[in-house]
Symmetry: C2
Subunit: 332 residues, 2 copies
């Protein structure tokens, strides 16, 4: 476990998570916790999967997005919000904006899959496409925010976003009771740090472990070294965990509240994803299978423990998933 | 609606379904009921999906199999049970046998998928392979039953099997309250007639509709004509509904308790299956998507009603599903 002094005024506390849970109570699904005898036998543990693939928009991101917009002052709500994302955060902000009656602008690469553009537009958001070869989404997002007076809701490095994502862990502990360990996938660390804060409250002795794809192990190396590491454009199928580095807010929170970080290979990830689909009958995106992959690949030992695993989302093109599965031999 | 005199001594009554529910209470999963805003908007109804794809063995069949073995006299349990099936009933009897401590023998075609042979063997059943070109499963099953003194548990045409399958409907009504309509897929009619009996008890005015693949419309034509029709080896992706005819017990029950029968094309079926996977994030086998397909293809109109749909199972080879999805254009 990495050690760090508890900061005097942490940017996110359990009280923030609890307040977010109140705000989300009538908005987000209280997603089910699922179990699998097959998984339990294979990993020698009692595993509780928190299924955020069943969340509205197909991923946990709505929690943080909604919680962040909820706390904007009236004049900021009047002007609208903006974010940049080609993934689950885009749809989350689009829907959160609609639910709040707040205009949402989403900066998305012009080559993003049509299905994602359509889904985001379907929630009523304005999409501003950009050419990733000539500009960065951060630059364009910041420029538009200033020009139009929009509030930027970043995908993870924001206290209200983190508190919202922490409600995933909060609900899980309410649903399962105490857990010995909690496995959470890690991209920018918003979900991981939020859930770790919830775990500290519900089960102080629970071992909280972040899981990254091996090719994008920036957070794991940052955690173990105490220095922020970066991996640009990691070559991994876990598109939700391609974030190049932890944030100014999430990095200290991860250091303070997380007990360990591990990585899994893409092969192990695809195998775990296949098992969840085939045996548990749930559609999980690659990033959503990181926690399960850590157990199934023995990066984390079961040891007969009660283990919570956050399944972060289920947004994957079915054809792409088939291609991933085709790349491996699942005969046995 | 077809009419038929209520028989003086029906082979299956609601009391049988309720008794089965008691026997299964600590054995089978009380599977969740799921909803989808997308589906509701598309079909103009409030749809409750009863997700038996999350049942043990991945399909509803365990209910009937367990209920049937439970009621065997001790000496029959001692000698063991036998059935023939290359599908979900095989694994159901294998697991039900293990749970009861009763030896189970399963007659399966020697060319059955290895994964199904392994799964069935994994539950501890003895598999007797046969060459479908030289013998029929019924003949071999009957011969073995007589030679070895085994009790044959047929896949649908048995009162205790039907009563067990009826617990799917029983649970659904307990979970949702009254429904205006109930859609159930139909192969041999065990699930359909059992659920119809449950519906009559919980909601006498509920319209119960059986759904078949268009290529295997034997039950639909039998229902509408009042005469038993047969379709041998129908060419449909809904492998669980390839049963050639209703049974001696299920046909009269369907006539008595079911209000209508409709069919859906394989194209509509694969589209519905894709929607359930992509939007609801659940893995459903082709047969399990029949009810949803009836709504989405407008074979059954939503009309703002509360509609229950039984999702019968989720056992489909993921590669095969990908091939089915590939065969259609889901761009819009």
């Amino acid at each position: 476990m990495a050690t760090a002094e508890s900061s005097e005024a942490s940017p996110v506390t359990y009280a923030d998570v609890a307040a977010a849970a109140d705000r989300l109570a009538d908005v987000t699904h209280r997603t089910p916790v699922m179990t699998s005898r097959t998984v339990n036998e294979r990993v020698n543990a009692e595993v509780s999967f928190k299924c955020e693939n069943f969340q509205k928009t197909g991923a946990f991101k709505l929690r943080g997005g909604y919680n962040a917009i909820a706390q904007l002052p009236p004049d900021a709500k009047e002007r609208g919000v903006i974010t940049y994302s080609s993934g689950n955060h885009a749809q989350a902000i689009a829907l959160a904006g609609r639910l709040h009656g707040v205009d949402a602008t989403i900066v998305m690469p012009e080559n993003a899959p049509q299905v994602k553009l359509d889904a985001t537009r379907g929630y009523g958001a304005e999409i501003v496409p950009y050419d990733p070869d000539t500009t960065t989404r951060e630059t364009l997002g910041q420029t538009l925010a200033e020009e139009r007076g929009l509030t930027l809701i970043p995908p993870y490095d924001h206290p209200d976003v983190i508190a919202g994502q922490g409600t995933v862990g909060d609900e899980l502990f309410e649903q399962t009771g105490p857990l010995d360990a909690l496995l959470v996938c890690c991209g920018g660390g918003g979900l991981l740090s939020g859930c770790a804060i919830a775990a500290r409250h519900h089960a102080p002795d629970c071992t909280v472990i972040g899981v990254e794809p091996a090719a994008g192990d920036d957070a794991t190396r940052s955690f173990h070294s105490g220095e922020l590491k970066t991996v640009e454009n990691p070559d991994t199928v876990a598109d939700g965990a391609r974030t190049p580095y932890l944030g100014d807010i999430t990095f200290p929170l991860v250091l303070e509240h997380v007990d360990d970080m591990v990585t899994v290979s893409d092969d192990a990830l695809v195998r775990a994803m296949h098992l969840l689909w085939e045996r548990m009958k749930i559609v999980v995106e690659p990033t959503g299978a990181l926690g399960a992959a850590a157990l199934l690949s023995r990066a984390v030992q079961g040891q007969g423990r009660r283990i919570g695993v956050v399944v972060s989302g289920g947004n994957v093109d079915l054809g792409r998933a088939a291609t991933l599965f085709d790349s491996q031999d699942f005969a046995s």
